[in-house]
């Protein structure tokens, strides 16, 4: 292994930051994929996989991706809730992989809510 220079410390830090931030629970945005039995049968797994893939592609580090149980609206699954820091959560329904991609780029990264796919804003908070 090459000897570190001072600036390398920051590089390593940046590289591993995602992992540690995840552990600290201190993300800029939190995306909750609802994965009850209904969600899974409606394709929530695909949405989750797609999200993971996008995060890897975009190499963003401060997004927290969590799963939760059924949100109660089984007919509109798959659903995700996007919650930017200090903002009200937004629920998206009837998702596909393309839709989630758009939601991620527009809402999660840039902060514009994709109203076309959104069900509600300010629904119950996920804990």
């Amino acid at each position: 292994m090459p000897k570190l220079k001072i600036e390398d410390l920051q590089k390593i830090s940046d590289k591993v930051r995602r992992t540690t931030l995840l552990r600290e629970g201190a993300g800029r945005a939190k995306v909750t994929v609802h994965m009850g039995t209904c969600g899974i049968s409606a394709g929530a797994r695909k949405i989750l996989d797609a999200l993971l893939k996008i995060i890897e592609e975009k190499d963003v580090k401060d997004i927290i991706l969590v799963t939760s149980g059924c949100a109660g609206l089984c007919s509109r699954e798959p659903m995700v809730t996007v919650e930017l820091k200090d903002e009200t959560p937004v629920k998206y329904v009837d998702l596909t992989e393309d839709k989630i991609r758009k939601i991620f780029t527009d809402h999660v990264l840039e902060g514009h809510i994709v109203t076309d796919y959104a069900l509600a804003i300010g629904s119950e908070r996920t804990r």
Partner: protein, 609 residues
Amino acid sequence: MKPYRANLMLCAGTGCVSNHSFLVREALEKEIKKRGLENEIQVVITGCDGFCAEGPLLIVQPENIFYCRLTEKDVPLLVEEHFIKGRPVKKLMYTPPDAKAPVPKMNDIGFFKGQMLVALRNRGLIDPENIDEAIARDAYKAIAKVLTSMSPEEVIQEIKDSGLRGRGGGGFPTGIKWESCRNAEGEPKYVICNADEGDPGAFMDRNIIESDPHSVLEGMVIGAYAIGVSEGYVYIRHEYPLARDRLHIAIDQARDYGLLGKNIFDTGFNFDIEIVRGAGAFVCGESTALMASIEGRVGEPRAKYVHTVEHGLWNLPTCLNNVETWANVPGIINRGAEWFASIGTGDISESPWGGSKGTKVFSLTGKVYNTGLVEVPMGITLRDIVFEVGGGIPDGKEFKSVQTGGPSGGFLPADLLDLQVDFEQLTEAGSMMGSGGMVVMDEDNCMVDMARYFLAFTQGESCGKCTPCRDGVKAMLEILIRITEGKGVEEDLDLLEELSHFVIDSSLCALGGSAPNPVLTSLKYFREEYEAHIRDKKCPARACRQLNVYTIDPEICVSKGHGCGVCRRECPDNAITGEKNKTHFINQDACEKCGVCFDVCKFDAIQIT
């Protein structure tokens, strides 16, 4: 780097490892793979979370869900429910005593809520065997700072201003120690990290090394730079294999990165660390004995009229600090002396002796709900530690005393529960900060017996070099044993006091100098218990079995137990007679007072008078 959606922080401190956390790890990894989640969920082995009573512990991040007492059998359910369906499993969560519902989040649990993490700031957050994760949590940043922008004098001033005092027990201001070592004549100089933690039930240092070895290494590098040293030792006891291995890994990784060794960060500063294993003698935690041991001689202390900062290891200037002290250093450099000094008690504007600053790690054991390792700010009251962090006394028993500072710390009574925990106040009350042991005792503990217990430990661990510690403590122990067996006489108490003062005044090192503390404080705060043993030949706590008279309540024995006969079968002296459905009877002449009958009776029919 691959993104994971969840990190499972599995505690692999010694406590959890002995509770089979590695089996849980295997099961988790297997199950995750089986469910095809291996690209989404990562299992991370971390150092100890401190809540050892509830191990093995698993914290799921980012949700901060806290699972405890896991077994490999729980794993399939956990993975299915939590990671597939997103439903945290309540029955695996922690339920506080007297509470109805479990507390899902770690940060909401009282044990963790009352703590303030400085030395242990990375515990549970990083894989201690992966230096990159430590770096992501700012490890080695402080080295970069001191090496590039601070002179050694500035570093020392910073430490002085922070008010950091030695966490090994002495409470000597670290900055002053560094300064006198820097100014001492002789080359080369050494720094030593004392990781020979020997207090029974205390594992602060082990914990720090197991969960964040890099903080210790970094502290040592900073100290070495400030003092002007290029060689350091970590003296770690052989009984800490996991800590030792992690330290080895950490040192190797730091060396690979050039954070140890020659020309660190190209500043021309050289420093390397060697690990020395101790053979487990308690006295080798004493600085001079420890140095003797590193030199390969018998570990026994010598007089410190000439300080080790002037004539220490191989008679050269040596700065020895405890693990926790070193681990505090990087934080002070990164966040500033002011921040550190804002925590704690007293006023250090005149001298670092003026107050106790920062946090202290305690190992909380004994009769409390939440036993484990806690880091709390200086100045917190004993009450807060015992009742808030510790969760109070189990089984509805009454608090009697808390011993601070390890086996030679004093017993503090309930009146002193509102005492603020800092160096001065503990010493004033007849106890000490020590290295941070904290044993809580309830009404079932006999203070005479506890004093005897701890004195037996110090006697066994005395090196035997000087007369007071070797023969004085032995004489004291003999008297205490006599008292607990009901053979004590009135004069014994005066003799005990006289001996205590003799041992404190004339012992060579602090081991003897503090060994009588339990006796003196118990005599001071619980003298009536001694008198009960001597005058009435009774142990109020019923702990001294030789003074107990065991009898069987005939009514309970028959009505509840139906003369089950367990006591009769278990009695090693065949002192119990009786038949099924009839009451049993203890023959007092044959009874050796072992107390087995009391322990085995499920119906509380055995009574002690």
